[in-house]
């Protein structure tokens, strides 16, 4: 019994320890951001590997999610005779929730895990140590550019996701199911507010971008430098990112949309 409590206590202390390490790490990254802006080439390279290469999965997923929303939305609304409001359903679902959340989950799975693996591997092959001994701060050179790239890329990707989702919903609703073209767009425009809905969605994706990239980069840097350690770190990135995204989504939604 005592053993159980002791183990639990040790686990708890470990959690706090990691939390503290993660925040100190974040502080160092933020301190290193000015030097990244001075070496723009590093940032561009990372945005290519983190952002651009995630584009395909975002586009395809966004399109399909939008189309499914169109289908399901139609099926439900048609019972109320309100199928002409399909545009509103598709747009609000995407812009407020699905765009930021699903894009972030996909990003965590694709780009986040790749970042963790890359950094973890660099750690285990002593490249980070080597850089330190060459008087190059690995946080400024390796970590900060990747962090900034993820932070900038995710809001862009989430917006692209929402936009193409709306297009997908349009194809299904108007193209296949016969919703009126004019009604689709006009109802949507009447009900979707730029600052309340779209900007709030963008704010969400900015928050998610910050948190997901931070987790990915930290798990890589903190990984045990063996192959098993790196693989566990990669798994942790995806799981912790997912939990963080969904938890933050609830908090942000309550803050932003709770009063309406």
């Amino acid at each position: 019994m005592v053993n159980l409590i002791r183990n639990f206590g040790r686990w708890g202390l470990g959690v706090f320890e990691r939390l503290g390490r993660g925040h100190i790490f974040l502080f160092h990254i933020l301190m290193g951001i000015p030097s990244v802006l001075a070496r723009f080439g590093l940032l561009i390279q990372q945005m290519m590997s983190v952002g651009v290469l995630s584009l395909l999965i975002i586009l395809v997923s966004g399109l399909f999610v939008g189309m499914v929303l169109g289908l399901q939305g139609y099926n439900t609304l048609v019972d109320f005779g309100a199928e002409q409001s399909l545009g509103v359903v598709v747009a609000l679902s995407l812009v407020r929730e699905l765009g930021p959340v699903v894009a972030s989950l996909l990003f965590a799975g694709r780009a986040g895990s790749a970042l963790t693996a890359e950094i973890g591997l660099m750690k285990s092959t002593e490249q980070l140590s080597g850089m330190e001994m060459m008087a190059v701060d690995p946080i400024k050179r390796v970590i900060a550019p990747r962090f900034l790239a993820g932070f900038i890329s995710l809001p862009l990707l989430a917006t692209i996701f929402s936009a193409i989702g709306v297009v997908g919903g349009f194809f299904v609703g108007v193209g296949l199911l016969g919703v009126d073209d004019g009604a689709f767009w006009s109802q949507m425009q009447a009900k979707v507010d730029f600052s309340e809905d779209i900007m709030n969605g963008v704010i969400k994706s900015i928050v998610f971008g910050f948190v997901v990239t931070w987790i990915a980069v930290f798990e890589g840097y903190d990984a045990v430098p063996t192959s098993e350690g790196v693989s566990r770190a990669t798994t942790r990135t995806v799981v912790h990112s997912a939990l963080a995204i969904l938890g933050l989504d609830f908090v942000l939604t309550a803050l932003m949309f709770g009063n309406i």
């Binding site: 561009i44 936009a163 009900k191 730029f194 779209i198």
Partner: protein
């Protein structure tokens, strides 16, 4: 490090794509295009009952949306609801004897304020008040009145 020019161009396109998506959402999906900016003015109106009227509910004239409800308050002395309406600057020729009524859009729809222009030569300005108001129709009261009048009429026969 190889062909960094290409990489830069691609990343630039990526960022442009993201911004274009945002632009598309703003224009085609939201009501940004009907936003006329901040040349609007705010007038108030008092109602006995605002029903289901909410902040951001539309304010219309002849069915055209000219603004929205910006604030809903309560007067502790007269026990009336004080509704503030933010009206776009394009529509600044509303006479001071305009009346405001709370209607319902469709059967299950949301409630909105419909303004009927009067005939006065002076126009509503910032901070003005619409004096003629008609409160929202509360369904229970209507039914109650109907039953009451039925009972009365039936009793007379």
């Amino acid at each position: 490090m190889h062909n960094s020019k290409t990489v830069e161009i691609i990343v630039g396109l990526f960022v442009a794509l993201g911004l274009a998506a945002l632009f598309m959402l703003a224009m085609k999906v939201s009501n940004l295009s009907t936003y006329s900016g901040d040349s609007g003015y705010v007038v108030t109106a008092r109602f006995e009952n605002i029903g289901g009227l909410k902040v951001r509910s539309p304010v219309t004239v002849a069915g055209v949306r000219v603004g929205r409800v910006s604030n809903i308050g309560f007067d502790n002395t007269t026990y009336e609801a004080v509704v503030s309406m933010s009206i776009s600057g394009d529509y600044n020729t509303l006479p001071t004897d305009t009346s405001a009524s709370i209607f319902t859009a469709g059967l299950l729809g949301e409630q909105y304020i419909a303004l009927e222009p009067g005939g006065d030569e002076k126009y509503l300005q910032q901070g003005g008040e619409v004096r003629l108001t008609q409160s929202a129709i509360v369904l229970e009261q209507v039914i109650g009145q109907f039953l009451y009048s039925q009972a009365e009429g039936g009793g007379d026969k």
